[in-house]
Point group: C2
Chain length 354, copies 2
């Protein structure tokens, strides 16, 4: 297999390769009238359903590092984080538009791997990759994904519906993504040191990362919780509010509380901390609970629900009850294992732009 830079294939050559890779995702979309190949993607909206749409921009060196992120994983994650936003409305993701800006020196094979990852994730969720844009970049790789989904009006879950007395629930485990990132960053530093000392870096050293898989996978290949949304639809349960955890449990709960004009009280011992994150925290003498609360990027669903509605889903062991909604004046609190109450907003990680 010869190395070929994207600058050699030309834009239309690249689009043809991309089209053939994402083609299988179209099979799940009978309402898609037209995919890639015209000025727009075209679909027939389902009768009586709302359209919900979300977009994310992923920038090299800000959101990802190609030294520690395989292109295929990156493609999968780009689809998953947007699908997760759709799930956070209790909606079903349907169509994706994908744009990339590619440095001219980037190998075509790498761009293809990126799209293979997208195709694989899209097929997993039943999303049709229906269009997009390709262009050059003068610096790093940029990926922009927009996903549109559908949901019946009476089942949509906004951020602003949490009510005093509601239960706070979260899916899966938390802190895995932050822990995985710590391990990958450490590996990268070791690798850079080898390179600086002109030593050969042995990729096989990474074999002993095996025990960290539960965290690294959560960071590199997070999954949108479409399974939870399907479960909620099956049980005909609509959360009073919902969000996906991208900024961190504390900050995302803050978004719900702000929008709903309520407070919340979480119980530390109920927070489902990722077990691999605990292992890594012990090794690095860091704090797994801190990662669970402020780490972000776990893409679990955080939702509130009335006590009566919760009975209908209480048998799901993958949904943890972690606290309850309180009056606004009480603020955003965490009761720790010693019974001491901490103000969640005083913790770090409450603004990731700076």
């Amino acid at each position: 297999m010869a190395y070929k830079a994207t600058s050699e294939t030309g834009e239309f050559g690249l689009i043809e390769r991309i089209k053939s890779i994402v083609q299988p995702t179209l099979e799940s979309a009978p309402e898609l009238v037209l995919g890639i190949g015209d000025d727009c993607a075209v679909w027939q909206p389902s009768t009586e359903l709302l359209q919900v749409s979300s977009t994310d921009l992923l920038v090299e060196q800000v959101h990802f590092d190609l030294l520690t992120t395989p292109a295929k994983h990156l493609g999968s994650k780009a689809i998953s984080v947007n699908a997760s936003d759709i799930c956070a409305m209790n909606a079903i993701p349907r169509y994706a538009l994908v744009s990339i800006a590619v440095p001219p020196s980037m190998p075509v094979e790498m761009v293809e791997e990126l799209y293979r990852g997208m195709e694989s994730a899209a097929r997993e969720y039943g999303i049709a990759i229906a269009g997009g844009d390709t262009s050059r970049s003068r610096s790093g790789l940029v990926i922009s994904v927009t996903v549109t989904g559908e949901v019946p009006e009476k089942m949509i879950a906004y951020r602003n519906g949490a009510k005093e007395g509601d239960i706070v629930c979260v899916t899966g485990t938390l802190g895995g993504s932050a822990a995985g990132l710590r391990v990958l960053t450490r590996e990268k530093l070791i690798m850079m040191e080898h390179i600086e000392n002109n030593e050969t870096y042995n990729r096989n050293l990474m074999a002993d990362l095996q025990e960290y898989t539960g965290a690294i996978q959560q960071h590199l290949l997070p999954l949108a919780r479409l399974d939870t949304v399907r479960f909620l639809h099956e049980r005909q349960v609509t959360p009073s509010s919902m969000i996906d955890i991208s900024d961190g449990l504390g900050q995302d709960l803050g978004h719900i509380c702000n929008a709903s004009a309520v407070g919340a009280l979480l119980q530390e011992n109920r927070i489902p901390v990722n077990s691999t994150a605990r292992l890594i925290a012990d090794e690095l003498q860091d704090d797994a609970l801190g990662w669970a609360i402020s780490g972000g990027e776990d893409y679990q669903l955080l939702f509130t629900i009335s006590k009566e509605e919760h009975k209908k889903i209480a048998d799901n062991r993958d949904i943890a009850v972690i606290g309850e909604i309180t009056p606004k004046e009480s603020g955003l609190l965490l009761k720790d294992i010693y019974g001491i109450t901490i103000d969640l907003t005083s913790l770090p990680g409450f603004d990731h732009f700076k």
Copy 2:
């Protein structure tokens, strides 16, 4: 007014500023259930209408140069180029999602200007800016816009419907954008020279650009031809195929001919070359017709239509008849003013990725 970098406002501070700027665009959208502020934008699709969606990624130093492009114009153009894709389907643009990646040093004022330009263009087209994403960039500014529109199924215009004997039409004038870019690039080189020689650059020198306005405006502030789409709807005329001119008349006609499996014969003397472009071409000893055919970025609509249907719109002086559709075997030809036939695909500008 004090200088403030985006790194000082934080992500949520910036989002609040952006929300207040784009707020007025929401008034035109009664079907928009929810704009910025949740995980997704939410809208109620109009009954019986298809949804059409298009996305574009604009990268600093590839698609624009902040030395020659005012931020407000750039914002307007980012909306217009996507609205133009929607118009190219004979559809009405409705909702936009906008993402930006901002270098931390960029002044907040500049980001606000960018959104003021978007707001102004969006309001012009009746588009609601309903959501998006903000993030840091490690290098230049990146803008990603996705616009969704609506159109009745029987009025949609694809690229693949052109038929032998159809008339080829184009709106407005061509070559203005390429000519405007040439003038701006020349000004930039003069400016750079002044800076290199440590001379003070006098911005007032740019005052004599007045006579080039017709071309510079076409480059910096192109308008999507929504007026033409509304006219076609009023007259109940559906083009057999349509595209907007982003790559250049020759290349975009090539897209229609490829998709429709037909050829085309254009008449040079019918091509509406922008008059300011002619003026600039004379000065720079360049070729205005070349810019009209291969320059691109004019965002006019190029469409084919049957002779009978054309009668219904023949009174529109802003729509020029420039040729006709021929059998596929005839290829893509231009008859020049001397009656000599040239192969359009032999001209430069048929792949802009390299």
